[in-house]
């Protein structure tokens, strides 16, 4: 019975109109970004929501965790200087390591920003997994987003897919040939490979554009996916608005 319920919930989530998910996404980001400080009840509420959606999205949790772990170093390095700054000018030092002062307010900001960005990335990952990039872009089209932006996003998505295959091939070749070189030589080889990769990116993007022209591209990448707003989408939209109201104001 639990499996049956899980399947039903998974089907429900997968069949949601991308516009409902986009609305949810925008509201979610607004709430997460605006909240300062990020209260514990909001962290717990948001985490529970994302966890449940991931659980019933039809994809293994491990896949999400792997992707988030891959993204996290970027978040970390972008925010790494925050603990070294006294963001509220209180002068309160959390700890001093070898003369380097780590400020309490800076550290708090670092932790909060990391949590917020992780939440946003987790939800972004979830939404693209649930409805797919093309359905999402189709929903932007139905929301009257400029056609040229959607065409560029679709084009970039395809280019990114091709380049990531290219990058993994280069990486495999690099490991096969240069793994045992001293680190300085490996860095030199990597530098050369990066230049080659950049050149190939430009060539590839030009070829894709030429191919699009050969098929009659006129500024818009037509998308025949149909989106349909149903009662379940209204229920979902009302549901998440109520949920956010509860975690923000109910107690």
């Amino acid at each position: 019975m639990i499996s049956k319920l899980k399947f039903q919930l998974t089907d429900f989530i997968k069949e949601l109109d991308p516009r409902a998910l986009l609305l949810f996404y925008v509201l979610f980001i607004a709430i997460v970004l605006i909240q300062n400080p990020l209260k514990q009840k909001i962290i717990v509420g948001v985490f529970t929501l994302i966890f449940l959606l991931m659980l019933f999205s039809g994809y293994p949790l491990s896949q999400y965790i792997k992707r988030l772990l891959a993204i996290y170093p970027m978040i970390f390095f972008v925010t790494i200087m925050l603990p070294l700054t006294d963001t509220s000018n209180t002068g309160e030092i959390f700890i001093s390591i070898l003369g380097t002062k780590i400020y309490k307010t800076g550290l708090d900001s670092f932790i909060i920003l990391n949590i917020k960005m992780l939440f946003i990335f987790a939800l972004s990952l979830l939404i693209t997994k649930i409805c797919g990039t093309f359905r999402l872009l189709k929903s932007l089209e139905s929301l009257n987003f400029p056609v040229w932006i959607i065409s560029i996003l679709l084009y970039m998505r395809h280019l990114f897919y091709l380049l990531s295959s290219e990058q993994s091939r280069i990486q495999t070749a690099f490991h096969a040939r240069y793994r045992y070189l001293p680190i300085i030589k490996r860095i030199n080889v990597l530098r050369g490979i990066s230049i080659v990769f950049l050149t190939r990116t430009i060539e590839r993007s030009d070829r894709i554009y030429t191919a699009m022209l050969s098929k009659g591209f006129s500024g818009k990448i037509p998308n025949t996916i149909k989106t349909n707003w149903r009662i379940s989408d209204t229920l979902f939209s009302c549901g998440f608005v109520l949920y956010f109201w509860v975690i923000l104001y109910a107690y």
């Binding site: 797919g132 990039t133 093309f134 679709l154 084009y155 395809h158 897919y161 091709l162 590839r204 070829r207 894709i208 030429t210 191919a211 699009m212 022209l213 050969s214 098929k215 009659g216 591209f217 006129s218 818009k220 990448i221 037509p222 998308n223 025949t224 996916i225």
Partner: protein
């Protein structure tokens, strides 16, 4: 567009092309290809074969005159050119960029703003033509390389071109898909211009052949004559088709 009564599908007069950095790619090309003919363009790497195809499709512009079914390419709008000449690229991944095969094959007709019923019909016919019926809802990312090549051909066929240009259609294909493409070329009534290093495929599918080297036409004639000339082929860094080497 009725082209049945037009004798020459392609007429190139004094066509030359140089890359933006000034490197000459094609020099004084003069070609006549008859309506319904299947012609191969062969040559070593860097001869200018792919560049010639891009000129035929109107994507690149050089000097000289190119006429496709008596239409001067320069005078035609790009939209009209794609209904005359369909170009299938060597790498199908460059040409398949939509979520589903249906979208990729419908891409051309959608850009021509055809009615939905006509688009559906063209997609179905194009996929049947290449043996990919039932593949409409599949993603091109989940197809094998050979299937993607066939899907790329279908995406051009849906435009109903009068002439189809294919850049190395059998490269990197397994024997099964190579055979499918050969069979398609044999059965097609369209005028076809094919560039390839697969000389055995050319023997089976084409009537005449142009030999291109360093941007110039070195030889032209029937497949039987040109591809049996061992000295000519070796002088241009090629060799006899395998079936004639034994």
């Amino acid at each position: 567009m009725h082209t049945e009564n037009i004798k020459n599908a392609i007429t190139c007069k004094n066509v030359s092309y140089a890359y933006p950095d000034g490197t000459p790619a094609l020099n004084d090309i003069n070609i006549k290809i008859q309506n319904g003919e299947k012609v191969a363009v062969i040559g070593p790497n860097g001869a200018g074969k792919s560049t010639l195809l891009l000129l035929l499709n109107g994507i690149k512009h050089g000097s000289g005159t190119i006429k496709i079914f008596n239409y001067n390419l320069e005078e035609k709008s790009f939209r009209n050119i794609i209904t005359l000449v369909g170009l299938v690229f060597q790498n199908p991944d460059d040409q398949l960029f939509c979520p589903r095969i249906y979208d990729d094959v419908a891409f051309g007709p959608l850009n021509l703003r055809l009615p939905e019923s006509e688009i559906d019909k063209r997609v179905t016919e194009a996929l049947e033509d290449v043996g990919l019926e039932g593949y409409e809802q599949r993603s091109s990312l989940h197809l094998s390389y050979g299937e993607r090549k066939l899907a790329a051909i279908a995406s051009i066929l849906s435009l109903k071109p009068q002439l189809i240009a294919m850049d190395d259609p059998t490269s990197n294909l397994d024997p099964l898909h190579r055979r499918k493409i050969i069979r398609w070329l044999q059965q097609s009534v369209l005028t076809c211009v094919v560039t390839s290093h697969d000389l055995d495929m050319i023997v089976e599918t084409c009537q005449s052949v142009f030999l291109l080297n360093r941007g110039q036409i070195v030889a032209y004639g029937l497949v039987e004559d040109v591809l049996r000339d061992k000295k000519l082929l070796e002088a241009n860094d090629l060799e006899l088709p395998l079936k004639w080497q034994i």
